[in-house]
C-alpha cells in the first residue's frame, strides 16, 4: 500500500470549512425534515386506525407509495419530474423562483418518506395498545380527537420510543441521498475533499466520525425524551400496556 496519509488535511482550509458546512447542511436538512415528518406521520398513522374507512384506505395508499419507492428515486422524481407535471406557472415557480430549490425539495422528499415510516410505527403502537383503552375512552364520553390526543397517542409514543429513535437516527443517514440532487451535505462535501486532494480515507473518516457524533447526540436526546415520557403522570411503558 503506497498511500500517503495526511490527517492534517481535514484541519486545513478550505477543506475544514467544507466539512463543517456539510455538517451544518446535514443537521439542518434532517431536523427540518423530522419536524415535518413527525406530526405528519403521527396524523397519517392515527387516521389509519381511525373510524373512517375511506380515509383509512387513503392513508394506507400514502404509506405504500412513500415507503415502497426507493428514496433515491423519490428525490429524482420530486426534483426533476414533479415540476414538469404540475401546471406551468407552478412548475416555473419551483424551477426558477424557489429559494435554494435542491435543499427545499430534498427536505420535502425526505420528510414525506420518513413520515410514511413514522406512520407505520405510530400505527403499530396504537394497535399494541389494544382496543381496551380506545373503547374505555370513547365510552367515557371522549370524542375520537380527545381519545387519540389524551389516551391513545401518549400510549403509542411511549411504546414506540425505540423504533422512533432508530428512525430519528436513520433520517440523518438518509439525508445523504440528497447529494444526488445537488445538496452539498456532509457526504457530498467529503467527496468534494476527496476529489480535490485525493486524501479520500481521511475525508471519509472525518465524515464517519461526524455522523457518529450526530448519532450519539441523537441517542442522548432520545434518552432524555424517553425518561421524560416514562415519568409523565407516573405511568411508564410497562404500566401503559397493562
Amino acid at each position: 500500500m503506497s498511500y500517503r496519509w495526511n490527517w492534517g488535511i481535514i484541519f486545513e482550509q478550505p477543506y475544514l470549512s467544507w466539512l463543517l458546512q456539510g455538517l451544518g447542511v446535514t443537521v439542518a436538512l434532517s431536523c427540518l425534515a423530522w419536524a415535518i415528518a413527525l406530526p405528519l406521520g403521527t396524523l397519517v398513522g392515527s387516521l389509519r386506525t381511525g373510524p373512517y374507512r375511506a380515509i383509512r384506505l387513503l392513508c394506507a395508499w400514502y404509506v405504500q407509495a412513500f415507503r415502497n419507492v426507493p428514496l433515491i428515486v423519490q428525490m429524482f422524481l420530486w426534483f426533476f419530474v414533479f415540476p414538469e407535471v404540475v401546471p406551468k406557472a407552478v412548475g416555473f415557480f419551483l424551477k426558477r423562483q424557489l429559494p435554494i430549490p435542491e435543499f427545499t425539495m430534498g427536505c420535502l422528499c425526505l420528510a414525506l418518506y420518513t413520515s410514511a415510516r413514522i406512520a407505520e410505527i405510530i400505527r403499530s403502537g396504537l394497535e399494541a395498545a389494544g382496543n381496551g383503552p380506545r373503547n374505555a375512552a370513547l365510552a367515557s364520553g371522549m370524542t375520537y380527537y380527545q381519545a387519540y390526543r389524551y389516551v391513545l397517542l401518549p400510549m403509542s409514543f411511549r411504546l414506540t420510543m425505540p423504533p422512533l429513535t432508530s428512525e430519528f437516527l436513520a433520517i440523518f443517514k438518509n439525508s445523504s441521498v440528497a447529494l444526488t440532487i445537488g445538496v452539498l451535505e456532509l457526504t457530498a462535501q467529503s467527496h468534494q475533499v476527496e476529489s480535490f486532494t485525493f486524501q479520500g480515507f481521511e475525508a471519509f473518516t472525518a465524515a464517519t466520525v461526524l455522523y457518529a457524533l450526530i448519532s450519539w447526540a441523537c441517542l442522548g436526546i432520545a434518552g432524555a425524551v424517553n425518561r421524560q415520557l416514562s415519568n409523565a403522570g407516573g405511568l411508564g411503558t410497562e404500566v401503559a400496556i397493562k
Binding site: 503506497s2 500517503r4 444526488t180 445537488g182 485525493f198 486524501q199
Partner: protein
C-alpha cells in the same frame, strides 16, 4: 521503496564498476511488478465519453484508453515482455486512489486533471488533453458568453474546478443575484438545461460537447463562451516511481512528436465535430520532448 532504491543503487554501482558498458538494467517498482505478473491493470470509467467508457459491445474504449494502450506497447518493449496482458478495471472516481495505492491499478486512464494538491498523493504523466470550462445552453436562451449569465441561474458539476471558479465569479459585484446550483452528474445537468431549470450548465468544454452529442434535441443546444479556466488531463500513476513515469512520458512524447496523436484525436473527436483546439495543438508540440 527502500529495497527498490537499494537495488537501483546496486545496479548503478555495478554499472560504474564495469565502466558503463552493457547496462544490465534492474526493473523497479511498477515495471518490475507488471513484468512479474505478466499483466498491467488500467483503471477506466464506465461513461466518460469519449475518453474512457464502455461501448455497446461491452469493450473499454476511448481517447485516453487508446493512449494508454500505446503506452503499454512501449512498456512491452521496454521490459521485453511481448505477452504482457492488459486488464481493464472500471473504477468509480472515489475508488481510483485507494486502488492505485494498494497496487490493484497501475495506470488510471480517464479524465483526471492535474492539480498540485493531488500531487501530494499521486504522480501524473505528461498532460494528455487541455480543457476549458465553458457553457452549455439552449440556442434560444440568448446566452453567448459569461456576461449574459448575470442575474440568471447557472448549473455546475459537483467537485470540478469549474464549480469553484463559477462560485467565486458570482460573488463579484457585477454578478449580484446570480444563482448557482450544483449537480451530482452530467445527466442531471443536461436535464436541467433542457427543462429551463438553469440558463447555462458549466463544465469542461469537451465534456459539454459529449453531453450535447448524446442529447435528445441536440440541435437546440450549443456550447458557448470563452474558456473560464484551463485544466489538463493526464494519466495517473503511483507517486515515487520515477522509472515507470519515465517510460510513460517517453511513450506519450513519441506519440506527440510523430504526429500519431493527430490520428487518435481525429478518431475520437471528429464524430463530435470538435477540431483540435489551439491549446491542444500547442500542448502536443510542447510535450513532444526530444529523445
Amino acid at each position: 521503496m527502500r529495497i527498490n532504491s537499494l537495488s537501483l543503487g546496486l545496479a548503478l554501482a555495478f554499472a560504474a564498476c564495469t565502466g558503463g558498458g552493457a547496462f544490465a538494467e534492474d526493473l523497479t517498482g511498477t515495471l518490475k511488478k507488471i513484468k512479474d505478473n505478466g499483466v498491467i491493470t488500467l483503471g477506466t470509467r464506465e461513461s466518460s465519453k469519449p475518453f474512457s467508457y464502455i461501448d455497446k459491445e461491452n469493450k473499454t474504449v476511448g481517447f485516453t484508453v487508446d493512449l494508454c494502450n500505446r503506452v503499454v506497447d512501449v512498456i512491452r518493449n521496454k521490459i521485453s515482455a511481448p505477452d504482457l496482458k492488459i486488464k481493464y478495471l472500471t473504477t468509480a472516481p472515489a475508488a481510483r486512489i485507494p486502488l492505485l495505492a494498494n497496487g490493484t491499478l497501475d495506470m488510471e486512464c480517464s479524465t483526471t486533471s492535474i492539480t498540485l494538491s493531488r500531487m501530494h498523493q499521486v504522480a501524473f504523466s505528461s498532460p494528455t488533453f487541455v480543457v476549458g470550462a465553458r457553457i452549455l445552453t439552449k440556442v434560444t436562451s440568448g446566452v453567448s458568453n459569461w456576461e449574459d449569465l448575470k442575474g440568471k441561474i447557472i448549473g455546475v458539476a459537483q467537485g470540478t474546478n469549474g464549480e469553484k471558479t463559477v462560485k467565486s465569479l458570482v460573488e463579484t459585484p457585477a454578478y449580484k443575484g446570480t444563482k448557482v446550483i450544483t449537480f451530482a452528474d452530467h445527466a442531471a445537468g443536461l436535464l436541467a438545461v433542457e427543462n429551463d431549470r438553469v440558463d447555462g450548465y458549466v463544465t469542461d468544454d469537451i465534456v459539454l460537447y459529449g453531453i450535447k452529442a448524446g442529447a435528445r434535441q441536440e440541435a437546440e443546444l450549443k456550447v458557448t463562451g470563452d474558456p473560464l479556466t484551463f485544466e489538463t488531463y493526464a494519466i495517473v500513476i503511483r507517486r515515487d516511481d520515477p522509472d515507470f513515469r519515465l517510460v510513460v512520458d517517453t511513450a506519450l512524447s513519441e506519440m506527440y512528436r510523430s504526429g500519431e496523436i493527430a490520428a487518435i484525436y481525429k478518431k475520437w473527436f471528429e464524430p463530435l465535430g470538435v477540431p483540435m483546439s489551439e491549446a491542444n495543438v500547442f500542448l502536443y508540440k510542447i510535450a513532444g520532448f526530444m529523445p
